[in-house]
Symmetry: C2
Subunit: 497 residues, 2 copies
């Protein structure tokens, strides 16, 4: 290995350690930290970020990135250099003081958003959001003045993603989903969900989480499950991944599918190749591709009849009282009810992407400068009515529901929808290689994980999302797999003819 | 504030953040980390230590320590400079390669010790321990060639402590404790402990932990309780302290008194003055003084009749079946049984310090070079017989029981005994200021914590242990408070006349 590359690896190790520390601190915060312990944590995290910032912007990194190219590099080394160069460009294009100012702004915005949401009063949040939008537009122009700013932002969450792709993708989706929802609502036979009401003991739900992780083949020696306000997955290292869930006494399906979803994220991280550990390529490649793995497990597998058939006996065993007279088929239909609603995170498979589209349309215009922040509430409500047919009674359950914009994460939402659509295409490719339904119904999910590990997981960030989709599916991304899947599945469940 | 001092403060903030990260990682490791996740953690911790080492040994710190003295300093600033100078001397006197080599050695020693303990075979551990003893002797000579090496080591855990003090202290202790144990064993009336056998539900014990923390006045918004193999306390920051405990189904007293003990450590950390936060003076001043606070709560208060009277109704309410016919007085006596035994961590108040003395005698000779590592087992067994009257059947429950020497912590053990003795003197001083027993029996432990916060806790590392003892007790350390306390308490419990 050439000398500059060796030095780069040492720098990557340092970045890894700082990221490790920050992830543990965040995980601790979300799971077991004392409720009023934010002060010391905030100071520590700020200092650790400063260490990271210093490493990324010091004179060493650009020098090494130049030197390293003078000698031949292996494929992995070249990918490392490219990833580091990308990160370097992104961080070094913003002057340090502006970077720090933006970080202070988002901290204040977070607390303003919390107050605004509690009071359902957008005006408390508006001045902060205006500054955030302005900063994001500016940073995008600094990073790449030749591209449309929103394309620059999309690329940060999903390398290669553009508005052109999104517009086509969401256009096709709307064309299929809107009439599908109308048919479901008007002609569909709504499944019985009365038996899902509970109450469901937390002890029973915890036991079910263990069972689900076992069926999914998640190695508990390397992955634990914690409890937090919102379920999430974090990886400290390949051999140390954590998922969390949230148990509700009145709703067991919520945690059940959170565990399947987060379990998908965890399996991805647990199967990245050893050779990438400690380098900047360890970790899932993009938000969209990560989400495709969690959605694949949650929806395409988890909410399929074969999977429900595989685990329903365990669920029934844990909750005999609530489920004695219920069949796997009835349970399957009940957890697949589709209904337009106000809150994205509670949306079903059919309506979910429409929630994303509302956000996409707003973001696109905000970043292009064609929509004023003050006009968000009215535009949000108009789009919710147009796409989902629902009236938004107040901003708390409308445009104030999501945290993402507080931290300046414009361009993030589309990756959720993209991941969902990737998942359908990946499931289809899998079916061409083996009998997915039969394997799942037998509880043999190792067939799924070996396939994904080979085609996608092992590569970490070494390959682009587009390369990985092509590698797994034999063709570039195509949204029709997703729309076909939705129409077929929901026509059956709702007995549409 | 002078400019060099401002720079020092910035450096202290960085050190704080690195320490914060390492403490969170350690806490996570001991409580919820997946069982086989050590690899990534080990690499991250090594990198974070390297950051810390670089900050402590770089050219900045010695330069600032020189510059800062050119202008007047406040009392706190002077204490910060002294503490940093002390740490700098300690770390910079050892060449970096030797430091790294020692760190690798202790990692290997730890795993050798685990194997040796499991097999009860000292020879597996001996070669590592020989190297550790040699390294510790060498480091002590590098740090201060004019002092006896073991005095140098004692001073690291308890600033100012010397062999002379220890010899006098332990001498006095032995003179009182040895005959006291003989009388307890030969003439004493042993309390009934049959009702302590359990089983005690873990859910009930968890509820009791909450109750104990409430009685102690521990603010749960800033202090949580976790579960780990061995109970411990760690502080990330003043407003973020964690204690842990270990529940045993067959022994509720173990966790009960662990919580009281760790709660004492936690209260100390929770009451350090705000002005010290983020500086090198945040945190308890020494091992001995820290232990004095936990022992004070555990023994002088927790194992007193007034405290048992205050909490026994709650214990009885949680465990009505096991304790229906038992009185507070009977419970008090049962948790104060004294009996010579093999294992230090399970020893009672009377015999505890004798376990420490065995280790002290061995350490003193090992570091002086008058005892060979190979002779430890025989000498251990001889001293256990002489001091405690017990026969050691094998090294697993003998000289292989403690982890401390693996990490080179020679000079640590005496601080446990010293803390225990400090506690008795502090309790005596408290009694002169207010009616301690009455306050405790009413469950008003805020009287205790306000007194300790004012006299000791607020100062963090700003004052020396000796200063703090004098400030709290009005006189220097004097072991007779401890021996008087033991004789009085145990004469009553065992009805000696």
């Amino acid at each position: 290995m050439n000398k500059a590359m060796q030095e780069l690896r040492r720098l990557e190790k340092k970045l890894y350690a700082l990221q490790y520390a920050q992830n543990v601190i965040e995980y601790d915060d979300a799971t077991v930290a004392p409720p009023e312990s934010y002060e010391g944590r905030g100071e520590a995290v700020a200092e650790l970020s400063a260490f990271e910032h210093a490493l990324m912007t010091g004179e060493t990194l650009p020098r090494l990135l130049e030197e390293v190219k003078k000698e031949p590099l292996s494929e992995q080394e070249a990918a490392e250099v490219e990833e580091l160069s990308r990160r370097y460009r992104r961080i070094s294009c913003v002057p340090a003081e502006e970077y720090a100012e933006f970080s202070r702004l988002t901290t204040r915005a977070m607390s303003a958003w919390e107050k605004a949401k509690a009071a359902s009063d957008f005006s408390l949040y508006q001045p902060y959001l205006e500054k955030i939008v302005a900063a994001r537009r500016r940073f995008a122009a600094l990073l790449d003045p030749d591209k449309a700013p929103y394309d620059v932002l999309l690329d940060q969450f999903e390398p290669g993603l553009t508005m052109e792709t999104c517009d086509r993708f969401f256009g096709e989706l709307r064309e299929v989903i809107t009439p599908l929802i109308r048919r479901i609502t008007e002609e569909g036979k709504k499944p019985d969900t009365s038996f899902l009401r509970g109450p469901w003991s937390l002890a029973g739900q915890r036991k079910l989480s263990d069972r689900v992780m076992e069926v999914m083949g998640i190695d508990r020696a390397h992955c634990t499950i914690g409890e937090s306000e919102h379920p999430f997955t974090t990886e400290f290292y390949k051999g140390d991944v954590r998922i969390t869930t949230h148990y509700f006494e009145e709703d067991m399906a919520s945690s059940f599918y959170s565990v399947v979803h987060e379990g998908g994220h965890a399996l991805y991280e647990l199967h990245i190749a050893d050779r990438l550990m400690g380098t900047c390529l360890a970790g899932g490649v993009s938000m969209g591709l990560h989400e495709s793995q969690s959605r694949l497990y949650e929806n395409n597998i988890g909410r399929s009849l074969p999977f429900v058939r595989a685990v329903f006996p365990s669920i029934q065993e844990i909750f005999p009282e609530q489920l004695s007279g219920v069949t796997a088929e009835e349970f399957y239909k009940a957890v697949n009810v589709a209904e337009p609603s106000l809150i994205r995170t509670e949306a079903d498979e059919v309506t979910y992407c429409l929630h994303i589209m509302v956000r996409y349309e707003l973001e696109k215009q905000l970043i292009a400068g064609t929509l004023a922040v003050g006009d968000i509430p009215a535009e949000w409500n108009r789009l919710m009515k147009e796409y989902l047919g629902v009236e938004v009674p107040c901003d708390r359950v409308g445009c104030l529901q999501d945290v993402h914009w507080c931290s300046g994460d414009f361009g993030y939402f589309p990756s959720y929808a993209l991941g969902t659509a990737y998942a359908a295409q990946i499931a289809d490719a899998m079916r061409r290689d083996f009998d997915l339904d039969a394997a799942v119904e037998r509880g043999e999910l190792s067939a799924v994980s070996s396939w994904l590990a080979e085609k996608i997981w092992q590569y970490g960030k070494e390959k682009s999302p587009a390369w990985l989709i092509k590698n797994a599916c034999g063709a570039p991304f195509d949204p029709h797999y997703y729309t076909d899947y939705l129409v077929k599945k929901y026509s059956e469940i709702y007995e549409l003819d």
